[in-house]
Amino acid sequence: MREYFAEDRERLKELGPKAMDKAARTEAQQGRRFRERLANNAALGVLWVAAGITVAALVLIILYVLINGAPSISPKFIFTWPHGVTAQGGIWPTIISTVYVTGLAMLIATPVAVLAAVYLAEYARQGRIVTIIRFAADSLASVPSIVMGLFGLAFFVEAMHLKMSMLAAALSLALLMLPIIMRATEEAIRAVPRYIRWGSYGLGATKWQTVSKVVMPWAMPRIITGLVLAMGRAIGETAVVFYTMGMAINLPLTPLDSGRSMAVHLYMLAVDGINMPAAYGTALMLMIVILGLNSLAHFIQRRYRKVR
């Protein structure tokens, strides 16, 4: 939609005011026109300022973390263990724990979320069940992370006896990621043009053949974008992980091992406030990972646009 209208929109923005000048003929009209132009420019100025503040806030936060965190980052910081009473040294096990739990959560959430989206986009007929599913997905997306954390603690950790573990955290995170991936996938599938499906059906393909061989490959770039964004959300998540994975510094091997994620490590360093350089360093690493993932999502999106 957006690409289609983009050119028109740019032209309108340029031509709008000029066309109005021509239309303004009488003096009274010109006076009014002048006031309107003034109001217009003032209002548009406000919009510029608002956008400027938003960008400034981002730049401020990124610079703040970058300037304070950069001196702490070194290969030693990344690849060694924290040691001592104030977590001197590196953050290696927290990086591994983060990657581990996020990967596991992705493995759990992705198939379920993608198939659920396939159901909603391709198979389900609008009705009460679909309404309920959509409402549930929306609700799931808006569950506060602390509530999800307590649920993970009560259900996965305690009721299912998974203890504080990678698996308990991954399952809780998967629940958090589920609606994000579902929504992205459903939108991606819906954006697949109809004629492509017609072609497939026309060749005698069944519904599943059409979905798996034609629709999904076409929608894949946008699905991957959704996955990457959900991953970013999981990596930055603190409250959920805090109550389901614990905070023991540990190099997880099995999914039933506990560990401390980067976000939890940062939280603990920050509230503790003793070893601030390590806190800034961890914050920077966390930001680099998440901004990296965001850029990856953008890259995939851009490539996809070009290909099409």
Partner: protein
């Protein structure tokens, strides 16, 4: 219509819907020529997809059930009313009135929304209606990145940068609603801005063209035409931003001061539902722990209510 053959008496959901619906001259029956095995496979897959879709429903039900059930003993012990309408919170005295925290959550959320929502909506308007391709190419990704920054980082920023400034200007320790407003409003800007922009983008170009053709200035077009048309979508966005603010935990915990008292001033420490849960979970047991689960259940209901409002609004919008 050709007579239906047994093989072709299929579940509607398995046929090729688009073609049959959009091009009636093709007869439904002719399109379905698949073997029994394929039929079974397709049905099994359909069931699998449906089960996956049900996971979301199951998740929501389980979350509420497990969180609420844990809170039930408390309601038996101190009574639901003493919990939801009680104004005194004291773990030692087993008083678990959550009104101060509800008030705290509301104060923090409303303030953050009052600052963040206008900023976000103006940013969205800028992106959608004013910005040239170059400005948009810079600002849009920036807004999206802002959405991706983990909340702990915001909290960290609040504690080490915003709180000292507030302390210097207004006295006190720098923790309280004002600090939370500033940090939270930055946090919810991307959520609201991105969703508002989606709403603005979905307004057809035609009505803008019509407005310009009538001689309206760009601002008049925005104010009198585009905004009213996108109103519902923007309100949706603001409500979802509100949900984000009310559910925000770690960042809030780090900057509100966590005093279990009623709102006493913009630079006086207060607590929110979320911050109090985290502070309490570490050592809670018995009735106290159930009170924290009760607060979580309350948060869950609030977020559900917000989603419901959004859905109802969108629904009336579609009908209108």
């Amino acid at each position: 219509m050709a007579p239906r053959l047994p093989l072709r008496q299929q579940d509607d959901s398995l046929r090729a819907p688009d073609l049959a619906e959009t091009t009636p001259q093709y007869k439904k029956a002719e399109l379905i020529m698949v073997s029994r095995a394929t039929q079974i496979k397709e049905r099994a897959l359909l069931l699998l997809f449906f089960l996956c879709a049900i996971v979301a429903v199951l998740g929501v039900v389980l979350i509420f059930a497990f969180v609420a059930v844990k809170a039930v003993p408390l309601f038996k012990e101190i009574g639901f009313l003493n919990f939801i309408a009680g104004t005194k919170w004291s773990v030692a005295k087993e008083q678990f009135g959550v009104v101060p925290f509800i008030v705290g959550s509301v104060v923090v959320t409303v303030g953050a929304l009052a600052i963040g929502a206008p900023l976000a909506i103006l940013t969205a308007l800028f992106l959608s209606e004013v910005a040239g391709p170059k400005a948009r190419a810079v600002i849009r990704p920036a807004v999206e990145l802002l959405a991706g920054i983990p909340s702990v980082v915001y909290g960290f920023f609040g504690v080490t940068v915003v709180a000292p400034i507030i302390s210097r200007v207004f006295g006190g320790a720098g923790f309280g609603p004002l600090t939370a407003w500033i940090v939270l409003s930055i946090m919810i800007v991307p959520t609201i801005a991105m969703l508002s922009e989606d709403a603005l983008d979905s307004i057809p170009m035609g009505i803008r063209e019509a407005s310009f053709a009538m001689g309206a200035t760009p601002w008049q077009t925005i104010y009198k035409v585009v905004l009213p048309a996108a109103k519902i979508g923007i309100i949706d966005a603001a409500i979802l931003g509100m949900g984000r603010a009310i559910g925000e935990t770690m960042a809030v915990l780090m900057i509100v001061g966590n005093a279990p008292q009623m709102f006493a001033g913009l630079t006086k420490p207060i607590s929110t539902l979320t911050s109090q849960i985290v502070l309490g979970m570490g050592y809670s047991s018995g009735a106290f722990r159930t009170a924290l689960f009760g607060m979580a259940a309350l948060l869950f209901l609030i977020s559900m209510a917000l989603v419901l409002i959004v859905r109802l609004l969108s629904h009336t919008d579609r009908e209108a």
